[in-house]
Symmetry: C2
């Protein structure tokens, strides 16, 4: 039995050959089905745009995180207001975000209560739950905890450092007593890192002399490299890892959508310097979400952890806004505002 | 004050540009100095030839394991007889091997007692202490223990599987209840793996269809890849790792001496499948040497762990014999017999 509500959703028409294009998707209007026990109908206010979506859209094999196939709604983290509910934990009028990035690029999402977390729109802006208090903050926390094994005084390099995950990772590493060098594109972003975000140093990867700059900034090598870019930047940092250094491989925006990925030529450094190069699954960190979120919220309230969002408006603009992720045009967490509502 | 003994030793003349050549080294005859307290003069019977020596000879930067510089004796593991001693633990006439691979490609080595381990020439052939009861056996044990985290029933792939470390790693993985696929060059070596050594399967990497053969042999992906080759074989295996797979990066013979290393193009698999790609330092495993050696010796005596040595004779033949490591001409642990003596 259908619900009276009509939903608009971005569904995949065909696998994108490279970076997703408008013709690969379609914005469909469809009925919303009735809720089953334990389910909630969330009217989305914001959805999160993340580089990883490109991976799941483009892959033609089933990935552990879940490939997006033709016919599927494009998956995305989302935050919104409960407008119908068959869950006592999420009454109508409360706000929630999803835990698993399945809310989707659409106006309404039906989600089981197990996939949701209550959020208080008075305690923090809704947007923050897609940023420092959501997947990006938890991803940074997980990567640094599970793979980074940070020790105070160590040198940490973060690429994509002005992006949502990178900014969180760099700030958390500083809070944990490390010296943090951020890599970003252009002098403005670099100034933001060393100014607003308190990084110890920032290097412009577009300078054409990143390897030399890194050697100067990290004369004893890199203890922990938190990588969000992959590609050439990863290869350069790999070549400068310290003995027993750890590479937290979190993202590879430089390789997404490009169809081919540049090979890593400096991989012998792993052997000669006993490096650990590892990736992790965000969802495996779920047992730690509650304690990590409490820690992140505490740091945010203490002014130690800052966040910034770039908000684009209009569900229909999904594709061109998503492209901004790959053109370095943004300098904060990119979110799409699906509708008016609580927009603080 | 010099000793009456004269030593012949291979010393580096200049850094090799690629694979070490005769002209890069010189065989010098020199006096042996008097022993200090706690030191032992070992008359070497066998020294070990290992791919890693090329790395330490060729590197122009100081590596954590210790680069070999012009003037240095070429480092090597060695086993021999104590001919002079200022250590109560190593009386004249006893046999010993060195713990740290510093005996060197020479006739006599002066070593501190802390760098030596007593060996019983009646219990096992002296050669075995440079193979399954020495660095190769301990390296395989260390890599599988520290990084491999083997679970019974998992699929383990070993490259360079007919080499000393590879043969040990594959056999240990089988003893630990895993399904083991070996990669080696040519049908004879492959037959040795599945016959004598009891591997579950063996693939000829020269077939030109390694990727397809691997997919058939490991339909659910590779849980643990023990890599001794680097290069293209590593890249192919990397592309077929299972979720949460571990790559034990132990050696890269395909890249040694070649001057350039082929880039790893499949590195995004690390991200999509949460792979751990890690190397380890043999010498960091020292606290576990005694227990690991006891385990290895027990398996050997029970007939579960086999070993085979290729013995070349004559110190003066070091360079051409060393080249055999890189031409796939050998099928066992390569050792150089420095002199007659206990050769069983």
């Amino acid at each position: 039995m259908d619900n009276a509500v009509r939903n608009r959703a971005w569904r995949m028409r065909r696998k994108p050959a490279g970076l997703v294009q408008q013709d690969d998707l379609e914005l469909v209007t469809e009925a919303v089905r009735a809720l089953a026990p334990g389910e909630v109908l969330l009217r989305l206010v914001h959805v999160s745009l993340d580089p990883g979506q490109q991976v799941y859209m483009q892959s033609t094999q089933e990935l552990p995180g879940g490939t997006i196939w033709p016919g599927d709604v494009i998956r995305a983290w989302g935050v919104g207001e409960v407008v119908e509910s068959r869950s006592d934990r999420f009454p109508v009028g409360s706000h929630a975000r999803d835990h698993h990035g399945v809310a989707g690029v659409q106006e309404y999402a039906i989600l089981p209560e197990a996939a949701l977390i209550l959020v208080d729109p008075e305690a923090a802006p809704l947007n923050a739950h897609l940023n420092i208090l959501g997947m990006p903050g938890l991803t940074a926390h997980a990567g640094l905890s599970q793979i980074g094994c940070l020790q105070p005084g160590e040198t940490v390099v973060v690429s994509g450092a002005s992006g949502a995950v990178g900014a969180a990772a760099g700030q958390i590493a500083r809070i944990r007593g490390c010296r943090v060098v951020g890599l970003a594109g252009g002098p403005e972003k670099c100034a933001h890192l060393t100014g607003e975000l308190g990084f110890d140093a920032a290097l412009d990867y577009r300078s054409g002399r990143l390897a030399a700059d890194l050697t100067l900034a990290c004369p004893d090598g890199i203890d922990v490299y938190f990588d969000n870019t992959g590609g050439e930047i990863l290869d350069i940092c790999l070549g400068q890892m310290a003995r027993k250094g750890r590479i937290v491989f979190c993202g590879a925006i430089a390789a997404y959508g490009s169809g081919d990925s540049r090979g890593l030529t400096n991989y012998l450094r792993i052997l000669t310097h006993q490096v650990r190069f590892e990736a992790f699954a965000y969802y495996d960190y779920e047992p730690h979400f509650a304690s990590a979120l409490a820690e992140l919220a505490g740091w945010m309230q203490a002014g130690l952890l800052k966040h910034r969002e770039d908000v684009a408006v209009g569900l229909e603009n999904f594709v061109p806004v998503f492209h901004h992720l790959f053109t370095s045009g943004i300098s904060g967490k990119l979110v799409l505002q699906v509708r008016d509502g609580v927009t603080r």
